[in-house]
């Protein structure tokens, strides 16, 4: 999100006058304090007719095939260059649904707040949620707020679940992946993870790298409108990075994947930060990049189309599916050597020297 957009938001949504500075255990008790917190801002901010019912759940009807997804957000720090946990929590679930070929319609939103969270920060997160929902064309229709004791959480955790309607022409399944399909990556990799790292305590470094968090549902819809079932598989390259996602696809589809290092786009600053931190960008998280496995016959067209979209300007065909070496991802290095790209055993830990 650009800084100007965020400033506009803050101007249009001044924080209401709360009679408390920070959130305490009472705000999760279900009593008067909970009501005061919700009524003095939350409901108003996320206002829609379904939420206004203030029921235990939401009533709605949807036509056609549906997709359902859930995700929890525990990012640290909760505010980072280019976004915050609120925006992430909406975009993440919207994108998970988009990868199923579905347009997100309704979300549930649950907060687990550590007592002591300044209410100003909570308000800022709410604004981001509202902003992200508007951008993605999705509504929060039900939710929950819990508060845990100091030290039992990390400022705020958010869970969102979402329901979306599947595109009539979509047929996105691992079983549809065929030999010679093209593997497309929709943008430059590793920006989100490095933006987060740049603000972690003990690691702070000067950079203007920002997270790529964005909703991808309209981008995917456009592709499905034109290419339908020629789009064989989609997955967003979030946790585990591009390498993690490609390995999941290779293992689950029992196919090999050949990729070319030279075709994988990465911002120079991001590549530099990865060098400095001793991290492999292939394993660094993204929040606005997806992998599309598409029929080779339409690959060039899909790419051309994707490059017209603001979320796909740097998209590229990085490789293809092969019947050889099933369940393995093999990379041709920039200098022409070949090696296996494996899954990481755990978190990527920085090297000593």
């Amino acid at each position: 999100m650009s800084i100007t957009k965020k400033i506009k938001m803050q101007l249009s949504c001044p924080m209401p006058k709360f009679d408390f500075d920070s959130i305490n255990l009472g705000h999760g008790s279900g009593g008067i304090l909970t009501q005061r917190l919700l009524n003095s801002g939350v409901f108003e901010m996320l206002k829609n007719d379904k939420l206004d019912e203030k029921h235990d759940g939401a009533f709605f009807s949807l036509d056609g095939e549906l997709a359902f997804s859930t995700d929890s957000y525990v990012v640290h720090p909760i505010f980072f260059p280019g976004g915050d946990i609120g925006e992430l929590a909406v975009n993440g679930t919207v994108n998970d649904l988009a990868m199923c070929g579905a347009m997100a319609r309704y979300l549930s939103l649950s907060f687990i707040i550590e007592e002591g969270l300044p209410v100003e920060q909570f308000w800022q997160i709410l604004q981001s949620i509202k902003y992200a929902c508007d951008n993605a064309g999705v509504q929060v229709v039900t939710g929950d707020t819990k508060v845990v004791e100091k030290g039992k959480g990390d400022k705020i955790f958010i869970n969102t679940s979402g329901i979306g309607t599947v595109h009539a022409a979509a047929d996105i399944r691992l079983g549809n992946i065929k030999d010679r399909d093209a593997v497309i990556v929709s943008g430059k990799i590793a920006a989100h993870g490095i933006a987060i790292m740049s603000k972690r305590q003990g690691l702070e470094f000067e950079t203007d790298i920002t997270s790529d968090t964005i909703n991808l549902n309209f981008t995917v819809k456009k592709l499905l409108d034109i290419y339908g079932d020629k789009i064989h598989f989609l997955r967003d390259a979030t946790r585990g990075g591009l390498a993690g996602v490609l390995n999941e696809i290779a293992v689950d589809a029992k196919k090999g994947i050949d990729i070319r290092e030279k075709d994988i786009a990465i911002e120079e600053q991001v590549a530099g930060a990865c060098e400095m931190l001793g991290l492999d960008p292939l394993y660094v998280a993204n929040e606005g990049v997806f992998v599309a496995v598409v029929d080779a016959a339409v690959a060039a067209e899909v790419l051309n189309n994707l490059r017209q979209d603001a979320n796909g300007l740097n998209s590229a065909v990085i490789g293809s599916i092969t019947g050889e070496h099933p369940a393995k991802v093999i990379l041709q290095s920039a200098i022409g050597g070949r090696r296996v790209v494996n899954m990481l055993p755990g978190e990527q830990l920085p090297r000593i020297c």
């Binding site: 690691l203 070496h325 920039a334 200098i335 090696r339 090297r351 000593i352």
Partner: protein, 365 residues
């Protein structure tokens, strides 16, 4: 990324490979000393591109791998004390001690922090006056200046709650021990570029002269490594044994005098045990008497029994370059990065982990 992309240039790589192919007439066994070089050789797929006659064996230059078991046990013991904040570089955390790793201690509630610089640990000590902040000072000559500097900073700030647990090792004595080992097969060395950035090249001339073995100080990028290998092979084919510097853009013959001065102020050379290899005389640093107040080994009351290494782990043979990781019967079976039997399966610079991660069998994949 300037000064980096030039050294990853496919055209230059191809031309060095073509020249190597022309120059090499006999089989040669070459050791790259540093784990960073091993990582780069495998990550870039260079091992599978080299002429068959060149056999690269991987050296002991992975600080995580050679840190002795009892020292990891000490770090875990200290980390588990309620009044201690244990700070470490990232890859030390997963290395198994005899009972657990620092990562497991952290999961059980110990305050263990991953830092990029020991100076951050000094900052933590200032912010946490009620805690003893200990930095697990691991590494070769490369990390020694920063670790020593942290002690000087802590002294200047008058801190009484900062100390370092040292496990510093030195490259030249290790190279000498490897050459003198009766099982040695290495005919030429790629010396570690960043170690020489600090220490300079002077320590390597007597080694080359005494053992009649060529040494090329080499960098870490593909072009660096191939140029270094080419320089070494040219010497081997010609029967010369000079010390040469491939990494001239970074390494000066005299090294970095300021960094060395800081090392000399805080540390003294000592005998050191290397995990998997054993004791090597005068092959490490420890905090000197003047700075005992900052030496966690002396300052803290550490009482732990000395533990036995796993008998199934052949780390010693791996670190001496006698065996490739894929030749270990436990490789990828009982020993994986998730359940490592020994340290070389842990660090991203450890030969076993590098082979496992990049599925390296040295056959073209």
């Amino acid at each position: 990324m300037k000064y980096m992309s030039e050294y990853r240039d496919a055209t230059r790589v191809k031309s060095y490979l073509a020249e190597l192919q022309q120059v090499v007439t006999k089989p040669w066994t070459i050791m790259e000393v540093c784990g960073g070089q091993t990582h780069s050789l495998v990550k870039n797929g260079i091992l599978s591109m080299l002429p068959d006659k060149i056999n690269m064996v991987h050296g002991p230059g992975c600080p995580v791998c050679v840190t002795p078991l009892h020292l990891i046990d000490k770090a875990v013991f200290l980390a588990e004390k309620p009044d201690v904040i244990m700070c470490s570089y990232g890859d030390m955390l997963r290395v198994p001690g005899s009972k657990k790793s620092l990562l497991e201690a952290k999961a059980a509630g110990a305050d263990v922090r991953i830092l990029y610089s020991p100076l951050e640990a000094v900052k933590l000590a200032k912010e946490n006056p009620g805690k003893e902040v200990i930095f697990f000072a691991v590494g070769f000559e490369t990390t020694a200046p920063a670790n020593a500097l942290s002690v000087l900073h802590a002294e200047r700030a008058g801190l009484k709650n900062y100390s370092i647990l040292t496990s510093h090792v030195l490259v030249p004595p290790a190279i000498e021990a490897l050459i003198r080992d009766e099982t040695n097969t290495v005919q030429g060395f790629l010396a570690a570029g960043h170690v020489c950035t600090i220490m300079g090249m002077s320590e390597y001339f007597p080694l080359a002269e005494k053992y009649k073995i060529p040494i090329v100080v080499t960098g870490f990028e593909p072009v660096d490594l191939l140029q270094g290998i080419l320089m070494l092979v040219k010497q081997l084919e010609a029967g010369t044994y000079n010390v040469e510097n491939q990494y001239t853009r970074v390494v000066r013959p005299e090294g970095n005098p300021q960094a060395r001065a800081v090392i000399e102020k805080v540390f003294e050379v000592s005998n050191r045990e290397w995990r998997g290899i054993g004791s090597i005389p005068v092959s490490g640093y420890e905090v000197n008497k003047q700075y005992t107040a900052f030496d966690a080994n002396k300052k803290m009351n550490i009482s732990i029994a000395k533990a036995e290494e796993s008998k199934e782990c052949i780390a010693g043979e791996i670190l001496k370059g006698l065996k490739k990781p894929s030749q270990c019967p436990q490789f990828g079976k009982k020993c994986t990065p998730i359940n490592p039997l020994g340290a070389p399966m842990v660090s991203s610079e450890g030969a076993c982990a590098v082979y496992y991660h990049f599925n390296c069998t040295e056959e073209p994949v």
